[in-house]
Subunit: 220 residues, 2 copies
Amino acid sequence: MTVFTAATATGRKRRGEGHTRRDEILHAAKELFLEQGYDSTTIRKIADRVGISAPALYLYFRDKEALMLALCDQTFGHLIEAIDEIERTVAEPLERVRRFGEAYASFGLTHPDEYRLIFMGAHIPESLRKIGHRMPTDDPTRPGVGGALVFSRLVAILNQVEASGVKLRYPADTCAELCWMGIHGVVAAMIMKPDFPWSNRDLLIEGMLDIVAKGIVREG
Amino acid sequence: MTVFTAATATGRKRRGEGHTRRDEILHAAKELFLEQGYDSTTIRKIADRVGISAPALYLYFRDKEALMLALCDQTFGHLIEAIDEIERTVAEPLERVRRFGEAYASFGLTHPDEYRLIFMGAHIPESLRKIGHRMPTDDPTRPGVGGALVFSRLVAILNQVEASGVKLRYPADTCAELCWMGIHGVVAAMIMKPDFPWSNRDLLIEGMLDIVAKGIVREG
DNA sequence: CAGATAGCTTAACGGCGATAAGTTATCAAC
DNA sequence: GTTGATAACTTATCGCCGTTAAGCTATCTG
């Protein structure tokens, strides 16, 4: 008779301990995801690693997409924390924009698979690609909104920039979009073509941040 | 007894007419691709539309990826032509950069599925995602190099800018990469989130081109 | 007319995400 | 302690997918 708790025992979970199984699934999925990428991370492989049957996963996640989005939201928490830290320690709004960009790029290049899933549509289900579909950005309980959450933080920072008296070349939301698109372009390119002989990766990140920061403020 | 030629007859092709079947496959694949996107464009559906069995496709294409890349190369020809036209009619190098950006964005938003396939990794096979993989950009006969071809044209234009006496803030290749990354960020974002309430799509494109054009030249 | 072979077929393999239906262990209530 | 509800999980299966193997047939060449 073992003395292991339900969380570590290899067999069936006790009643009410299902959430520990859910965590085990997420843990195994993350390992496989990092080892083998999205396409190769199959429901069956995850189930095998956890030590349960494949259909058992569907007790904890509606489908594969929900599982993956739950994974991403977990990872995106780290970026949100980094942004919190910036807002806590950096006062100057324009400097916040730059620090945001650096944290964003660093995160994307450190978590390329999650980044692809959220920002590069590695998985986009057909249902979301239909014309007229509304992004569920207003429901923070839905999994997979990590990206929208991050973006909304940038919008807030750009509003702070404007409120601080800096004259912007474009409306604040347009500036936020331009900032995001610029740094996203850098990150997406490096993730997409990791072996392309980019001239200078650090310079590309800093250069894009310079260009964007300079480009959104009205000169004079 | 019909008088249709081999190209329009419904039955088996005559000897030596296989290439017409190949064209029919590409045509059907393109239709399906535009109607239903990448994932839903299956080998079996393409074969059905052409009126042949699924394995028959493998007489003309090594695998699904090769078929899709052949499709994309065909479409990318239009962008290459647009760039040719710009180089033919626009003399000022910096103006060429801007016109390139406009043509590029216009193309991407007009052909979002092909753009995703080539520049956003909607298909990236696992074999290409391994660390250390070299991009086969130097083999123009390989299908799927449309993207690299387009990028190399931008690099050439930036070299022209530098040769024309304009002082650049960064090396010419870095500037080309920054230009591409900026406009790619805009296009990728709009393709990825087509229903996001972007503040002003035209302004985003023009704004990014302004920002980049201004950002890569040394002031003074 | 007799091969040769381009063009195509049917059948099948191993994999995928997902569902249906049944089984078993656990717990609360009596 | 027995019972009944049910959480946790299983086996079997479905309908797809890309792809391959093996064979057939119409057409062309000599």
